[in-house]
Symmetry: C2
Subunit: 281 residues, 2 copies
């Protein structure tokens, strides 16, 4: 009699990227699965992308590809601003964008405002090499509502980085003009802001909506893009609002140790495929 | 008694992009599912990306995002070569790259060699607006083994475009130095070749292997990249081998009607993220 091979359980995480598209990653281990006051939080180990944090079913960060996103979010504004001393990060509780911000020795103060303390705790526990950026003496971590915090802040920051979740539920306000207006007031006169603004293929209305909102508030608004494998479609946009400087031109040298960002990549990120220029016309 | 809502069948196509990662697309209709002498062939309608052709379980082309790939493959070499009159396409039986090639009025002859006649027939039947490029009087379609065809061709083409499937089975030879050597002989003395060389995240060894092979055969070898949502990780590489001209510099104007390619996108595509430069060092 033939012996049937022993079978093993297969565990897969599936993100419903749109109603009609799903990305699935094999899971080696589920390290955390909890409901916070704000969202569902999971930490999973995957063979494809290493350890990852998932919020409300959407991948936020993976060990293997986060550098693509974190470096764009930090170094585009920090290299385009001539003297970024103080930086505000909205969201980003994992600490990856903060880590990139702190690579710049000219940064003397970096405030990270993430409403969900449990995301920060999960990152400290499960992604310690990333979250250790929060122990830097220049870093200041606040668990509070960023919209409130910014409303009460005036002329304090050179650069703001909006590292938000998708524009649903409590994060929806982070993509609208009133928020950007308060954000501009929180910045110094020559300040600059960058926001992650989703994929032009799966969320074109977010790209256009956020861009139009930023354009109404800042004299300069520019769109740029990059690769980001674990986000829907792998093509990700970033919108920059600026009071004075051209965001597409790096004027400061790039700190050593980057794996995605280079000064050439900075300039190239603003060369938009024709359909993307069309989208924000 | 509560009435239970009527349920509907859900049909999904799933591509096993790697052993540990899958992309799933909802399917509205299965138009064709057949075994050709060379591969499994399916034509599916999807709400996310429109109509698509699948070979051996891997998405080859979708109506909604093929322009990202087709325009890079055609316009990078055709705009970097000063006078591309004759063009060879290896694979590409759907006709999309051919359509882009024929946008250039200077092209007087475009030969498409795809081993699988049934792919060409499926494209003519189900993607007629794309496949109609094959009816252009300048186009010549051959259902034959490209490796054989190229071995018997000498000094005929200005540009060759290797629009192959993944490097498995009968297509594996299309990523190796002996093939590139024959290809160089099939080109005129100042010829140029571009090949799709997969994703640096999911198939880094293909990027390095194909690049090294091309570098051994051509005096100039350059890597560039672009977004391609339905291919694994959404970040796609293209390797260019050139006998004379710098592939990164567009010297001819871009034909009207492109949706991805622009001269700025051409130059920007050669600005490699740091990890990608590192990969081919």
């Amino acid at each position: 009699m033939e012996t049937r091979p022993k079978r093993r359980s297969e565990l897969w995480f599936t993100e419903e990227q749109t109603r009609d598209m799903r990305l699935s990653l094999r899971v080696d281990a589920t390290l955390l699965h909890a409901q916070t006051p704000y969202q569902e939080l999971a930490v999973l180990d995957t063979p494809e992308y290493g350890r990852m944090i998932v919020l409300d079913g959407a991948i936020q960060i993976t060990e293997r590809d986060e550098f693509c996103y974190s470096e764009m979010m930090a170094h585009i504004p920090l290299c385009a601003h001539p003297a970024p001393g103080s930086v505000l990060i909205v969201g980003g509780g994992d600490g990856a964008v903060l880590r990139e911000v702190l690579r710049h020795p000219c940064v003397t103060r970096a405030v990270l405002v993430d409403i969900d303390e449990q995301v920060i705790e999960a990152s400290r526990r499960f992604l310690p090499s990333i979250a250790s950026s929060m122990d830097d003496p220049r870093a200041e971590v606040r668990h509070t509502d960023a919209i409130e915090y910014i409303r009460n802040t005036h002329g304090e920051f050179d650069v703001a980085i909006v590292d938000s979740t998708d524009p649903v539920d409590f994060a929806a306000g982070l993509f609208e003009a009133p928020f950007y207006r308060d954000l501009r007031q929180a910045l110094r006169e020559d300040g600059m802001v960058i926001a992650q603004t989703e994929s032009p293929f799966s969320d074109a209305s977010v790209v256009t909506g956020a861009f139009d909102a930023l354009r109404r508030v800042f004299p300069v608004a520019r769109l740029c893009w990059g690769a980001m494998p674990t986000y829907p479609t792998g093509m990700w946009t970033y919108t920059v609002g600026s009071s004075s400087y051209d965001p597409s031109v790096p004027v400061r040298s790039c700190p050593p140790g980057t794996r995605y960002y280079t000064p050439d990549v900075h300039r190239a990120a603003f060369a938009l495929p024709a359909f993307l220029s069309e989208l924000i016309r």
